[in-house]
Amino acid sequence: MTPTPEEVQPRTDAWLLEIDHLRVSYGRRRRTHTAVDDVTLNVGAGEAVGLVGESGSGKSTIGRAVLGLTASSSGRIRFEDTDITSVPAERRGALTADLQVVFQDPYGSLNPARTISQTLTEPLLTHRAMTAEQARARVQGLLDQVGLPADAANRYPAAFSGGQRQRIAIARALASNPKLVICDEPVSALDLSTQAQILNLLADLRADLGLAYLFIGHNLAVVRNLCDRVVVLYRGQVMETGPAAQVTGHPLHPYTAALVAAAPVADVAAQRERRLARVTVTEPLTVAHSGCPFAGRCPHVEDICRQQRPARVKVGESVVACHLFPSGKGDSHTSGSVDEKV
């Protein structure tokens, strides 16, 4: 067996969210597309975990599966030891208060025909026995918390810019005092100066309220800025997991290394060095269905990469799935030592 996270990661009882061998497939029979392929990851209480990958990596699908917006095909999702794998959002009852979301698109995520106050009080009045008066006070508190003026409550979303709408979306997520907020690319649609404001707001709220984040993003620098740990996804599979500084500073997996090398920096001289050092990997027209999903683009590819899916191996504080880091000589099934350093 491939080592399970319980063996690889220090098992603590403090996990807030446990995703275990999750698989999400669309379509039927031969036309099946597997968006999430055997993903295992955990988020501790108060921890910020970044989920990084390019389009089609399945990162948003994982978020939606956790939220109960997409059905899982197999595997298990547990939130505070409650199995929520096959419980859609509508049937989660009180649990929805603990598990909230901020979406990427600040334009589509607010109902244009409802005032900010109506949007924010909706979850308050539904779940908590709050009077209208209490809810109004709570809305004012929330607006203040996300840095919006009090008179924002009676306006419609159209009156706000993208950054302000994202603040409103964050306020809505905070309304029920959640423990975990899934942030699905919350700053990708924002301008640079607005992005910094929202990232700081998310960091402050986490510090003040002890929130945990599952932060989904494609920009490594953004994820590095906010997260403690990073999970790198490629075509639905986890390539590398580790502390944020480790993953962005000393990437182990060739895919992570390619991601890091491709992210441009705003320093011309440094960027020139990075450009000369990077190995250009062109995108293949077809994708192999066995072995390592990155094999078609990997500069270090060997025969075994196309035949066998690499095992997860613990290297230092990171866990990596790559044949460059063999857990035993070539045969992951008999390998026992997951602590072997390469």
Binding site: A113, P123, S193, T194, N200, N225, D267, V268, T280
Partner: protein, 635 residues
């Protein structure tokens, strides 16, 4: 350009929009007034009608309109006006009954089928198809035989058959809303299905349902009139418009006037319902937008003599460019030049005017935006204010444009090879030459398997390949200048790196130049020789990329660089407070002053000109304190 802040403090839901449209169009208000009049006269016909509609007066047959009989009398001497007033009653009630039944059945069925999908959707869709398959008029005629003169039964059946159309309409509207993120957010909030359907889905389907109801009323009125024309409607004694038309047609050779009153009333009523339906439809998303007035291009292009003598290597010279929307200027005096073999970056946030500037160069501005001042000289030719004919000659051959969304540049109906060959043929290549050049072009943009890509349609290739094909398409006319607007924003970062390498190669021959519009300073640092930083419609700093990014001389550039998260550090980022001012809120002085940590009173006094910065290469900044930034090295 994505952040458009509307100051209107009003809801923008479809129902609200439809309501507003109904209340503001004079034609629609007239239609509503007419319907109110028809309904009131029908309801109060007993009190209002001057005569009994059934009383015959054989001394007054077929009289033309007179003071006593305003609309004349019919072949039995009955008063036409009174019959008209009484005749609308059955018609309107019948139509309302059928419409109410159609909506009452269609609304819940459509909501359920659209929101739930799956088996519910399959079953309901099958039933809907069934209603479409039933020939309604034949059924009605058969019913008229079984239940003679029973309008209520006939209209109930018509309503059930009409529910199919209502269901389909509501289902389709619901499906569109169901995928909106705000519905997902509501589900995550744990709102019960009932609340989601009533609060978030129903308001968006109300307007289409109103439209459908109005159309259905019009159709039912016609159907009922037709039935009574055929003698199958209500009681032959009770007057109805259709029956009046039938009677008039019997006397058409004797007195054609009789046809006019019931015909006119019937037509006006049907038109009124349709007008209301159209107004509601136009107010829905996807309805026609008001066509803007095409402005005459009034351009104050400077003559060449007024400008400093141009460098022969200069390919594009933009000077004092002003672009105005109907609401006012959005690009305000932009000046820059691009030399052959050079890549210039136009960098800025939303609302900085960078995209509008890029579109203005090849004359691709939307119809209500125009260049009101300044000059755009390309290879010695003035493009600002020139005719569409001359512009279209320059586009493709001289200047090519590459859009952010590569798929949008490709026609989904044709293969990649087809589109490239068509473009090459347009630029004068023979059929054989075009075929040969297509493969070369694809290889030039770094596609390793051109034969295969050529046979693909756009949906069969990835975003990165599509952007390469879009670049190949832009190169078909062998243009001297490429303008690329955020060409890598929609792409993955590893693909972006490869596309940037490709741009570098395309310009490397030294004969081409590229203007790259981007919000990503990293992209600019990677590929651009020079950079112009834009803020609120102006260039605030311009110079060689390494000096501008390495030691910014404008506080905005510096603040922007500092607010970028980096791969090496974590923690709070230094932010720029506030947001970019909207064009109507641009201050007279420095436009960044309100957000600037270095601002002094001098910054707010008046417009700040671009000032030269001494150094090894030409460099300008629009900051009175630019020199204060000098000693401090950038990041």
């Amino acid at each position: 350009m994505s952040t458009v802040v509307h100051h209107a403090d009003s809801p923008v839901g479809p129902a609200a929009r439809a309501g507003r449209a109904l209340a503001t169009s004079p034609l629609t208000l007239t239609a509503v007034a007419w319907l109110v009049l028809v309904v009131l006269t029908s309801v109060f016909a007993d009190q209002l009608a001057p005569f009994d509609p059934l009383t015959q007066n054989l001394t007054e047959l077929l009289k033309p309109p007179s003071a006593t009989h305003w609309l004349g009398t019919d072949s039995l001497g009955r008063d036409v006006l009174s019959r008209l007033m009484h005749g609308g009653d059955t018609l309107l009630w019948g139509a309302a009954e059928a419409t109410a039944i159609a909506v009452a059945l269609g609304l819940p069925a459509g909501l359920l089928s659209g929101y739930r999908g799956g088996i519910a959707d399959a079953v309901i869709s099958w039933l809907v198809d069934l209603t479409f398959a039933v020939p309604a008029f034949v059924v009605l005629v058969a019913l008229a035989v079984i239940y003679p003169q029973n309008t209520a039964v006939m209209m109930a059946v018509l309503g059930v058959l009409g529910a199919g159309a209502a269901t389909r309409l509501v289902r389709n509207s619901t499906r569109t809303v169901r995928d909106e993120l705000f519905i997902d957010a509501a589900r995550v909030s744990g709102l019960p299905l009932r609340t989601i359907l009533f609060r978030h889905v129903l308001p968006t389907v109300v307007a289409p349902v109103i439209m459908l109801a109005a159309t259905s009323m019009a159709i039912c009125v016609i159907v009922l009139s037709s039935l009574s024309f055929l003698g199958l409607g209500g009681s032959p004694e009770a007057p109805s418009w259709g029956q009046m038309i039938y009677e008039a047609s019997q006397n058409i050779t004797v007195d054609s006037w009789l046809l006019v009153p019931p015909g006119a009333v019937l037509i006006l009523t049907v038109i009124a319902f349709n007008l209301i339906a159209n107004t509601v439809r136009d107010a829905l998303p996807g309805g026609p937008t008001p066509r803007p007035v095409r402005h005459r291009r009034t351009v104050l292009a400077e003559t060449a003599a007024q400008r400093p003598d141009a460098d022969p290597q200069t390919l594009l010279g933009v000077h004092g460019l002003v672009v105005e929307f109907p609401s006012g200027p959005v690009v305000d005096g932009v000046t820059f030049a691009v030399r052959k073999g050079e890549i210039l970056g136009l960098v800025g946030e939303s609302g900085s005017g960078k995209t509008v500037t890029a579109l203005a160069i090849p004359g691709l501005l939307p119809i209500d935006e125009r260049i009101t001042a300044g000059s755009v000289r390309f290879a010695g030719e003035e493009l600002a204010g020139t005719t569409e004919r001359r512009l279209s000659r320059v586009r493709g051959r001289g200047v090519a444009y590459i859009a952010q969304e590569p798929m949008a540049a490709l026609d989904p109906c044709y293969t990649v090879g087809n589109q490239l060959r068509a473009a090459l043929r347009h630029f004068g290549a023979t059929r054989r030459a075009a075929a040969a050049r297509t493969g070369d072009l694809l290889r030039e943009v770094g596609i390793s398997d051109p034969d295969r890509v050529m046979r693909c349609r756009p949906h069969q290739i990835s975003g990165g390949i599509a952007q390469r094909v879009a670049i190949a398409l832009a190169l078909t006319g062998d243009p001297a200048l490429l303008i690329a607007d955020e060409p890598t924003t929609a792409l993955d970062v590893t693909v972006q790196a490869a596309i940037l390498d490709l741009f570098r190669n395309v310009v490397a021959t030294g004969e081409r130049a590229l203007v790259l519009v981007s919000h990503d300073i990293g992209v600019v640092a990677d590929v651009c020789d020079r950079v112009a930083v834009m803020y609120a419609g102006q260039i605030v700093e311009q110079g060689e990329t390494d000096s501008v990014l390495g030691a910014p001389r404008h506080p905005y550039t510096r603040a922007l660089l500092r607010s970028m998260p980096s791969l090496d550090t974590a923690g709070r980022l230094p932010v720029i407070p506030g947001s970019v001012p909207a064009p109507d809120a641009w201050p007279e002085g420095c436009r960044f002053a309100a957000r600037c940590a270095l601002a002094t009173d001098a910054c707010k006094k008046g417009p700040i000109p671009l000032m030269d910065v001494s150094g090894p290469s030409p460099r300008t900044t629009r900051c009175v304190r630019g020199h204060d930034l000098a000693p401090e090295p950038g990041r």
